[in-house]
Amino acid sequence: MTAMLLIEQALNGLQYGVMLFLMAAGLTLVFGVMGLINLAHGSLFMVGAFACAAVAGATGSFWLGLAASLAAAAAAGAIVEMTVIRRLYARDHLDQVLATFALILVFSEGTRWAFGSFPLYLDIPAALAGPVTLPGGLEYPLYRLVLIGVGLGVAAGLFWLIGRTRLGIRIRAGEADREMIAALGVDISRLYTIVFALGAALAGLAGALVGALQSVQVGMGEPVLILAFVVIVIGGIGSIKGALVGAILVGMTDTLGRFVLPLALGTVMSRSDAGAIGAALASMLIYILMAVVLVLRPGGLYGRA
Amino acid sequence: MTRPAPVLETRDLHLSFGALKATDGVSLRLLPGEIHALIGPNGAGKSTLIGLIAGTLRPDAGQVLLNGRDVTGADVVRRARAGLARTFQVSSVAAELSVLQNVMLAVQGARGGSFRFVRPVLADAALRAAAMGDIDRVGLTGRHRVVAGDLAHGERRRLELAMALALAPRAFVLDEPMAGMGPDGAREMTALLDDLRHRAPILLVEHDMDAVFALADRISVLVSGRIIASGTVAQIRADPEVRRAYLGEEILE
């Protein structure tokens, strides 16, 4: 019985991890290529979720909503890049932090203005609703299984994009040497807009997919953003591979910690104490993981430093 | 005759970056009172060697000794405290601080006490007098109030030197102090360095051959991470291997 639960929790952790990867991948790309720290990345997650919920609500089709979330987040990303972000590349991190913090306020309050303060709800599409029976008899929600598949698929797509395509070559060249790539005649400002919009679309996709599991509301992006930072710190800034490994590590640690810690503590103290203390400790677990990685490898698992 | 003990010594230093052997068995001695010039073509590994001596880089093998003490495991801060003063190829100062504040910072580094919170540092007469003395010595008299970032290039080179002086070091390691200076500036800097050797011996990395030949007691030639020749100015000028390494360069003229 416990083994079944454990497998289920591990799958939940994996699902959580791959969604974090979608967020972390964009952040780490934008930092690696443009040297920009973008606090407003969580807002793009929120934009994706709201676009999906609004369009799905109006048309009744989750799939149209999903397409809308990609389009809305990519468009929001491109617009923000062209109006604000590109003025920040040459600035120090402090200016980037303040400007993107201001963007969060604009996005959050703008969304509240447009949609009100009450959360929207997004239903899991009928085709993906309900559980499936896995080998071994475990019943697991199909939708979550699909999320794992989508996340891993996107990861594979990103590795292919970065490693095998012209755009990928340019992105890698941009990471290595900005002037070099400009000298080669690549339109660098267009490349930056594309990279930023790509990262935004991934965040929007994550927002839409996760939106069906929780409520869609203003402020939903920032907790995920901060976890994505933890992922990047663990994985190493600029590394897509690090983002994937870090994301799964964080997802697993958090989910399994919340499951295992109260049980483990329950063997030495009363059940209610164990539940409370276990939950409090579990909420700190990924940050402790981050601290341990920092002590052992200050540049992250796959960092260059 | 007993040879004087070297102030600074490297023993068989090795450092590779991947397949590139940036430093390949360098042994070097800096003796009391001398200016020991280190020359070599671009890419010879001079910057790497300075990094190894100053402690910003760690060798794969070999040792660095300061006053006979092994400092290979010590970091930049410890080596500075042990009496090593370096200047940087690209001027490295605190750009928002005044000339005086920069030099006082160096005096403070030499004397310790950076964890004092009460007395205004600029009112510290002893610290100030020491710093002003070094500012005068490098010819920046009257410029002590200027913010370092506003200095002209040559003046910034002098400020670097004043900061090194203020450390009252056992050995100087100067990384191209003439870089980017005009002929007049280089001449003045040469005179300054000539005077400096009485304070502590100098390991001088320099491209300006006039300055090197005017100043150096000994010269070591670094090519592809190895010292291919070491000797007096006359010996180096006559060395066929050096001529080959420098073929076409001004040393032959």
């Binding site: 720290i37 400007a99 201001a102 604009v106 309050e109 | 405290r81 605190a94 504040q101």
Partner: protein, 327 residues
């Protein structure tokens, strides 16, 4: 170039004159608003030591603000519950004495800053920003899930804590305490910045590699500045909790970190009175825009964007020009 001290004097006087006038006109709400400015300016003054003088972009200072707040609640709650703070191994009662609470808040803030700083300062730049943000978030979630002090709902301390000889429930007297602490901290900061420590810290901010080559360890300076910074922001947190007579995890949230940073940047990074100017402007904007629209933060965001993109150096920088190089 001597406009900045003059401007500082004007700010200090204005922050004193407004609540005094409000007191004379019997407008307690204005006094409370001024008290809020003084306390938030104090939080900003703490961050300014790390951010402005040390160059450490900490996006996790809500951790220290919240720790200060919870230190107050932890000490004062047992008194209102007729309970003990600790009963084992020996009995320790709670306290309603502000000086004791401030001392506890600052110690707790300093200790947390020591641990967080020692870990975060192993890295620099953008890593440092993300890691401080993450540690702040860790404490936020811990406060939410730890049930002893109200969890997500927070905890109310119904009667404001006391200070010998003062009636702290009188708004103007509580303001005087907050104002006095703010001015004392600014005076001490001014002293520290001009002392040897301040010079070395400026060197560590502007050119850590050079400083190391002068035999001074940037890490020690940065960590000391971070600890002092954390202690001061924690003190502000204890006062803020006393102002509201309420503590909740929102004091620890990342928005709080962002807002404290906004005070500093709005006023002027590394300027002594920057946090005062910034906090005052922020509260005025909040009050004024909040009266105009429910979505006032949208306009705040646009104003902030405009300031970052077009008016660098903050209020003090705009009004007083470039900083004096001192001598």
């Amino acid at each position: 170039m001597r406009r900045e001290p003059l401007l500082n004097g004007v700010l200090a006087l204005a922050l004193l004159a407004v609540p005094l006038a409000a007191w004379a006109l019997d407008e307690p709400f204005v006094i409370t608003l001024a008290t809020k400015v003084a306390i938030l300016a104090l939080a900003g003054a703490g961050l300014n030591i790390a951010l402005g003088y040390g160059g450490l972009v900490s996006l996790g200072h809500a951790a220290f603000f919240g720790i200060g707040g919870y230190a107050m609640a932890v000490l004062a709650a047992p008194v209102q519950n007729f309970d003990l703070l600790m009963s084992w191994p020996f009995e320790v009662p709670g306290t309603k004495s502000m000086p004791l609470i401030w001392l506890a808040a600052m110690s707790a803030g300093a200790l947390a800053a020591l641990v967080i700083g020692a870990l975060s300062l192993r890295t620099a730049g953008v890593y440092f920003i993300m890691i401080t943000l993450a540690f702040g978030q860790m404490l936020y979630y811990f406060a939410i899930s730890w049930p002893a002090y109200g969890g997500e709902d927070g905890i109310s301390i119904y009667v404001r804590n006391g200070f010998a000889g003062l009636n702290t429930l009188d708004p103007i007297q509580f303001f005087a305490l907050a104002y006095g602490l703010l001015m004392a901290v600014l005076a001490l900061t001014h002293m520290m910045v001009r002392a040897r420590f301040g010079l070395a810290l400026a060197g560590a901010r502007q050119n850590p590699g050079r400083l190391a080559a002068l035999g001074i360890r940037p890490f020690s300076l940065h960590l000391s500045a971070f600890v002092i910074s954390g202690a001061i922001t924690a003190l502000a947190g204890a006062l803020y909790a006393d102002l509201n007579r309420f503590v909740s995890p929102s004091m620890l949230s990342w928005q709080t970190s962002g807002e404290i940073m906004v005070f500093v940047i709005l006023g002027g990074v590394g300027r002594l009175f920057g946090p005062v100017a910034g906090a005052a402007l922020f509260i005025l904007l909040e009050h004024w825009l909040g009266g105009v629209s429910d979505y006032w933060k949208l306009f705040l965001g646009l104003i902030l964007l405009g300031i970052v993109l077009f008016a660098r150096g903050g209020l003090i920088g705009t009004l007083a020009g470039r900083e004096d190089a001192h001598d």
